[in-house]
Structures are given as structure tokens and as C-alpha cells.
């Protein structure tokens, strides 16, 4: 096991380099130039008043100065090397927008995104697993078919549409005012509030985003759960368990459930990156200052250091997530023994 882990960890290094290299290239080869964006201030918006711009040359010079400031005038492979070198010292560089450290920006927004995703992942699992079990143990019943239909409908509803509808109808426009239309805190939020008041205010703001973020997740997950349960239910050893007169409860929860969790463990690998990944749609529609919003704004502004940092962090978490789920697999399924295969 130890040797296996070591080997896996070492293998992650070239994988990581490959991922970041590809990510770097995709980002840099995509059209769009941050200097140009800045100089134009939006070509469509810039002034008719050409103030003392004798020649376009001076603007070009300004762009060159700007690029030099951020090292964008060097060849691409040199830039990648510099980036990698900085990474080894755990530095993601500085944002083009305000010269602040990218790491600081991520740390500032991380709690928001984690809070949001933690609750939504929890909801997804708490709803999806029992729902899947119920569907699988009552196949083709009315309840099964109703949940199947509901799951597919939810799965098909675009998140951005659902979020907009929720805001328009239940967030205090012309209809009902049940939840705030976004943000994290009330307008008059003050540090002097009692802890309890702060918590309820936060919960009130997070409720809708969490629900929306969860619904299409549990639609998918409950289907997986149902399918893998049904698969196991058809196995011979389940027949045997029933034949020897075990209680149905024990058959389902001891034999079937545990064996049908194996595919779920694989899915578990995506939780870690999912926690920080953030949802661009939900965070943008609800104006939640998390990592999804940061990523979206950074891509639009071609803020390369920030984009690369977010990309790298989620790559690392994905790699770790896969490793953990592989280890967990050997825990839930004793047949899987990694160490021996290596010898």
C-alpha cells in the first residue's frame, strides 16, 4: 500500500505539469489581449475626444510598457517557466487588475464558495442517496416513477432560468418576498449584531442559492444510486441472503447498499474540486462574491495570473480527489488490494 501510494503521488507530478501546460497554452493561445482591452477601455465605448494622442504609436508604447510590467513581452515558454518557478515558491503572482496577490484574492473568496458548496453537496447526498434507495427497492411503483420523472425534469431545467425565475417570483419583486435577491448579507448588516442574528441573516441569504445549486446535482446522483442498487439486487448472493431467510432490512442495508456504494465512491472524487469550483451561474446571478464569480470576471478581463491560479488549484484538488477515492475504494471493497498488484 505504501509503495503504491508513493508511486501514485510521483505519477501526479508529470500529470500536473501536463495539465498546467495545456491550461496555460489554451488560455494564452485564445484570442484577446489584456493590454489591448485596457488601452481600448472598450473600443465601442471609448471617447470621440482624442486627447493629445499624436500618433497611435504612443498608445502602442503604453501597451508595450504595460506588457513589460507583467512580463508579457517575453516568449511564451519563458513565461511558463517563470510561472512554474513562482509556483514552486507557492506564489501565483499578482493580478493584472489591481496588482494584489492572486493568492490573497483566492483566500478572500474561498470561505464564501466553500460555505455554499458544502451545504449544497450535503443536501445533494442527503436527498439523493435515500431517494435512490427508495426507488431501487420499490421499482416501477408509482413513487419510483414519480421520482424518476421529477429527477429528469429537474435535470433538464437550465440553472440560469430557474435562478432567474426564483429571483423574479419569490425575492421581493412584484410577487412574493420570501428570500433576498442575492448577496450575502442584508444592507444594514452590522458587526454589532449578535451571533445568532448574523447566522440567521447568512442562512436566509444562502438558502436559495444552496437549493438551486443542489437540485440538478441530486437528480443525477439519485439516478446513479438507483441504477447501482438495482444492479446489485440482481446478484446471486442477494438471492442467497434472501433464501437463507434474512430480514429484508438486513439484505438491503447490509448486503445491497454497501456493495452498491462502490460507484458512488468514484463519484466522490469530484467533491473536493467541486467544493472550491464554485458555480459561475449561481454566483453571478445572485451576486455572490465567490471563486466562480472571480473566475468568470478574470476570464473576461484576461487576467491570466488569476485564471491560471484557479485552474491550478482545481487541478490539484482533482488529482487529490482521485487519489482519495482510489484509497476509499479499497476500504469499501476488500477485493481491491493495490499493494499486491505492484509486486
Amino acid at each position: 500500500m505504501g509503495a503504491y501510494l508513493l508511486q501514485r503521488t510521483l505519477l501526479m507530478v508529470p500529470t500536473f505539469i501536463g495539465i498546467t501546460l495545456i491550461g496555460f497554452l489554451i488560455m494564452r493561445l485564445a484570442p484577446g489581449d489584456p493590454a489591448e482591452l485596457r488601452a481600448a477601455g472598450g473600443l465601442g465605448a471609448a471617447a470621440g475626444g482624442g486627447i493629445s494622442v499624436e500618433k497611435r504609436g504612443s498608445v502602442d508604447e503604453a501597451m508595450a510598457q504595460w506588457r513589460a510590467q507583467y512580463g508579457l513581452d517575453k516568449p511564451l515558454h519563458v513565461q511558463y517557466a517563470v510561472w512554474m518557478k513562482n509556483l514552486l515558491t507557492l506564489s501565483f503572482g499578482e493580478s493584472f487588475k489591481d496588482n494584489q496577490s492572486v493568492w490573497g484574492k483566492i483566500v478572500e473568496r474561498l470561505p464564501v464558495t466553500v460555505k455554499l458548496n458544502f451545504w449544497s453537496i450535503l443536501v445533494v447526498y442527503l436527498v439523493a442517496i435515500p431517494l435512490g434507495i427508495y426507488s431501487a427497492t420499490h421499482p416501477n411503483s408509482f413513487a419510483d416513477q414519480a421520482t424518476t420523472l421529477a429527477a429528469f425534469v429537474l435535470f433538464a431545467v437550465p440553472l440560469v432560468w430557474a435562478a432567474t425565475m426564483a429571483i423574479v417570483f419569490i425575492c421581493g419583486g412584484d410577487f412574493y418576498y420570501l428570500f433576498p435577491p442575492g448577496g450575502l448579507e442584508s444592507l444594514d448588516f452590522s458587526d454589532n449584531w449578535s451571533i445568532w442574528k448574523k447566522i440567521t441573516d447568512h442562512a436566509w441569504h444562502l438558502f436559495l442559492p444552496v437549493v438551486l445549486l443542489s437540485y440538478d446535482g441530486f437528480a443525477g446522483l439519485s439516478r446513479y444510486m438507483r441504477a447501482s442498487m438495482l444492479e446489485v439486487l440482481r446478484q446471486d448472493y442477494v438471492q442467497v441472503a434472501r433464501a437463507k431467510g434474512l430480514q429484508e432490512k438486513i439484505v438491503i442495508y447490509k448486503h445491497v447498499l454497501r456493495n452498491s456504494l462502490i460507484p458512488q465512491v468514484t463519484l466522490f472524487a469530484s467533491i473536493l474540486p467541486g467544493l472550491i469550483g464554485g458555480s459561475i451561474i449561481i454566483e453571478t446571478v445572485f451576486s455572490i462574491p465567490g471563486l466562480g464569480q472571480l473566475g468568470f470576471e478574470s476570464v473576461l478581463a484576461r487576467d491570466y495570473p488569476t485564471v491560471m491560479a484557479l485552474f491550478t488549484v482545481s487541478a490539484v484538488l482533482t488529482l487529490i480527489g482521485i487519489l482519495i477515492s482510489d484509497i476509499l475504494l479499497s476500504v469499501v471493497d476488500p477485493r481491491i488490494v493495490f499493494g499486491r498488484r505492484l509486486q
Partner: protein
Amino acid sequence: MFWRTWRFVLALLLLIGCGDKTEVKVPDAPPAAEQVSGKPVTGDWLVIHSLSDPEQLNPLTSSDASSAEVNQYIFESLLSREPRTLEFKPYIAEARPEISNDKLSYTFKIRRDVRFQDGRPVTGEDVLFSLKVIKCPLVNAPFLRVYFNSVVDAQLLDPYTIRFVTKERYFLNESVLGQEIKILPRHYYDPDNLLKNVSVRDLLKDPQLNENVKKFADNFNKNYNRNPMGSGPYKFHRWKTGQEIELTRDPNYWGTGKPGIDQAYVDRLKFRVVNNMDAALVRLKSGSLDYMEVLQPVQHVRGTNSERFNREFKKYEYYAPTYSYIGWNNNHPIFRDKRVRQAMTYLTDRKQIVKSVLFGLGEVVDSHIYFFRPEYDKTLQSYPFDPQKALALLNEAGWKDTDGDGVLDKVIDGKKVPLRFEIKVNSGNAVRKSVALVLLDELKKHGIAASVRELDWTIFLNDVKNHQFDAVVLGWQMSTTEPDAYQVWHSSQAANKGSNAISYKNARVDEILETYRREFDAQKRIQMYKEFQEIIHDEQPYTFLYVAKRVSAVHRRFQGVEVFPDGLRPIDWWVPVTRQKYLNTVTAQ
């Protein structure tokens, strides 16, 4: 960024002064002030919708509109503009500058009663320091610096008198010096006085050699982006990233009660970030926003007309000084011929576009000069929608369907070319796309095969700058103060990715643009620009489309809300004591 300060106000007065033979319909001037009762009082908050977080709040290194929006309350400059007449008015300066006979040096005298927000006086040293920061090549403000290329030196004649020397005779230099230098407190932004012994001339030479300059620039670029301090009526209070920025009224503001200085009444300005327009409107209705500067046309037409909405909010409609146009690539074999360009304008049903695409919220225009400006040429005959005339022009230019394939063609440079082209628009702009589609439908009927292509903004921008297009739908900001269209129309700006992306070239226009910039007599400049507009009107390098109206919504408890030619001015707003909403929550300073 700079355009925000440029689009100052225009004048009703000037309009009346020169309006006689009106052939092009000029829209109504902004409505006069509403009757306001009572004397303004302080108190309450104003919660303003902001579509995105500013990048940063350093007034010299930031380059986005959201930053300018916030910084205008914190920083001041030597001159300002009278909101209604757009005339210069002295602000931090005692008077407008003394300009030397050769029009190259400008001498400003600074008021002695101006204080920064920490109570220390504003002196010539601070003004000089602010200019040095702009001119310092290591400071991360290259795009602002471009505007100051002409400024080569500055000295203090005494602690309250500063003289700027420019190398170019240019009538807008007064405006650059007077309005673009946001005055920073030297003692706050350069506490160690590292720039003390460095002159503006030194900075032009080789600043790399000077350790102090390097140290200053590093510090300035990094550590002053989220903590602005100036001499304006509002102090920076806090910034919750991605959520809101809060400014508080400075109770010790130096300008309080002084004539000609903007008075602030609202105790707190909150810029609330709401990225999504639908959500923003819902927030407005639910009471967590007081002011949305921009409502989408569809939100104006539907969604904000209920009785309840109108009881709580008042909507203001006014022209936003921006025009849209279709730019024809003047180097393109098809569009080289001005008759083809004229025909395209005849084929564009601009009135219909305003009606159906903009819900009537706009005005068809035929010039790039704002119609409230004295430079605007009111004698221009608008091109009507006239397909017959367009076809006659195309025929005259040699376009006929010789091979019967349903598409007009012509032999150009020995090659048969069909009348086929592509209109590029940026994706995400539904209005521009609709404009292109309306035109497309019309063109199809007359044997012209056009298509529309949507591109991501940065890719689109790249194509436009590199002249990689047949036609584009775009917009320009118009100057509400003295315009200078050199950048857009001078032939030199067609090279090297300049703003003359359509490669317009006309020797007479070049000559006008050059002499105009050197002319200090406003009347002569107006005459020059009239001729310039006539040439453009005849040659139709653009098909000018419209100036759209903006609709803003403001909560009714605010008094003193007036539409100026340049829009609304929240600084003037106040709330009567009995209607103040956030009365109890205000903490005294």
C-alpha cells in the same frame, strides 16, 4: 475612463444661441429642473446599483468605469465644469489658468482653503506630485500617461502657484491639466517624500537610475489600490469585495457652504454590486437599491410601469451621449466606392430600427457630433430609407446582376465580384445584432448577399483593430464638451491598429483635424467642424444609426434630482428629514 470626465454637459444656452434653420429634427433639450421644495438637508443613505466591482480605487492607475464612478466623490481637480452650461469653472484652482501668448504654458493659482480628508491643506506640492506620478514611467498608468505626452515640465512659482509647460499648441490642454489630474495628497501617497528631488524633466529622462523613484513606484502600484484618500466630499469607508463599497460624507469637507463647490447631503453612498440586471431590478423593487442608472429598454417598457413602482420610484429618460453606427471598411473593394456606402445608408431603415429594436428610445443621427453641441451641423439632410434611390446608386456604380444568380455583381480590378459581405457584431449585444439582422433582411430583397457573424468581444476587437472585417456594428462615446475627433477620422490613425479602423482617408479632413486642434478661437473651430461634418455626411464612411436614450430609476424620497445634459448627478440629491429611511442607523463621525 477619461471619457467619463469628458462627457460633461452641454448647453441649452448655446443651442438657442445658434439655432435657426432646423432641417434635421433635433430632439428636445433635457427638461428643466423640477420644482424642489424646502432647503436641502443632510442625512440618509443612497444605495446605488453597480454592475461589477471596480478593479481598484487608485484614481491614476485604474482604467474602468466602475472605479471612475466611485472615485469622482473622493478626488477633485483644478477645474470642473458647470453642470448645465458645460463651461469651465475653477475648483481647486482660484480661477482658470493664465495661458501664455504662445499657448504653451498654463499657470494655475490654487485656493488656500482646500483641505484633504485628513485635515491637511492642499498645496501646489500636491498638484505637482500628482503630475509627477502620472509622468513617472514606472507607475502603472501608461494609458493615462498618453494624454499627458504633451506636458513636458511643471514648476512651483510659489507654494500655491504652479506652471505647466506643454510642447504642443492644443486647445484641449487646459482641460487635460485642469480635469485629468486628480489631486493626491503627497503626504499620504508618498510618506517618505521619495519624489521630492525628482523633477518632471528628470522623470522624462531615465527614472530607472533612481532608486527612490523605483521604490516609490513599487509602493504606489501595490499599496494604494483599496484605500483612496483625496479632498472630495466623500471619504472612503470600506470595501467588501464583490459586494459593496461604502463612502461616508466628510463632515469637515472644506467646500461646505462655498459657492461653486458641489455640496453633498446624503450621509452615506453605498455602491451595491449586482451582476445581473434582472436581479438588480428585483432588488430595486424590494427596497434594497435606491438608484439604478441604467434600466434595460425591456425593463422600462415592461416591468416598471405598475402603480406600485411609480409610487415609489421615478424614472428619468434622457439621451446618453453615445452613437451607434455601421462602419464600412473603406479599403474593401466593394465599399471603396462612396456610392455603395450611400446606398447602404439608404437601405438602412433607421427609423424602424429605433422603433422596433430600441422601443422608440432613441433618435436617428447623421453626424458623430452630439446634437446638443454648437459644433453640430444642423443643416445636414438626413438620409431617408429609400431602396429605389439605393438601387439607382448601385446601378450607377456598376452593380448589376449579369449572370442571373440573384446577386448583384461587378468587375473590379479585372475580377467579377458579387455584392456579398459579412457584418461583424460582438456577441452578447442583442441590439447590435438586431440592427444587423434588420439590414440583412432589406439587403436580401435587392440582390445583396450579406451575412452576420457574432464574435466574442476580445476577438471582435482584435478583428476590428486589424481591419479584418467588411462591415461592423459599433458605437462611440460622444463628447459633451469640446469634441476632438482626430483619433477616429485622421488618416494617420488608420495605421497601427488606430481608432480609424475603417481606414477612412480624406486629405481635406486631415487638414481640418490638424488645424482644429491648434485653434484657440471657439467660433473658428465650430466653422471648421461644420465643413468636416458635411464631408463625412457626403462620403458616408459610416452609416450613422442613432443616439439611444437611457432610462434611470430613482427612489422618490430623493429631492433635487435633475436631468443634466450629461445625465443625473447624485451628489446634489437629498432627503427631507421626515422621509429619511436609514435615519437611525447613521453613526456620527
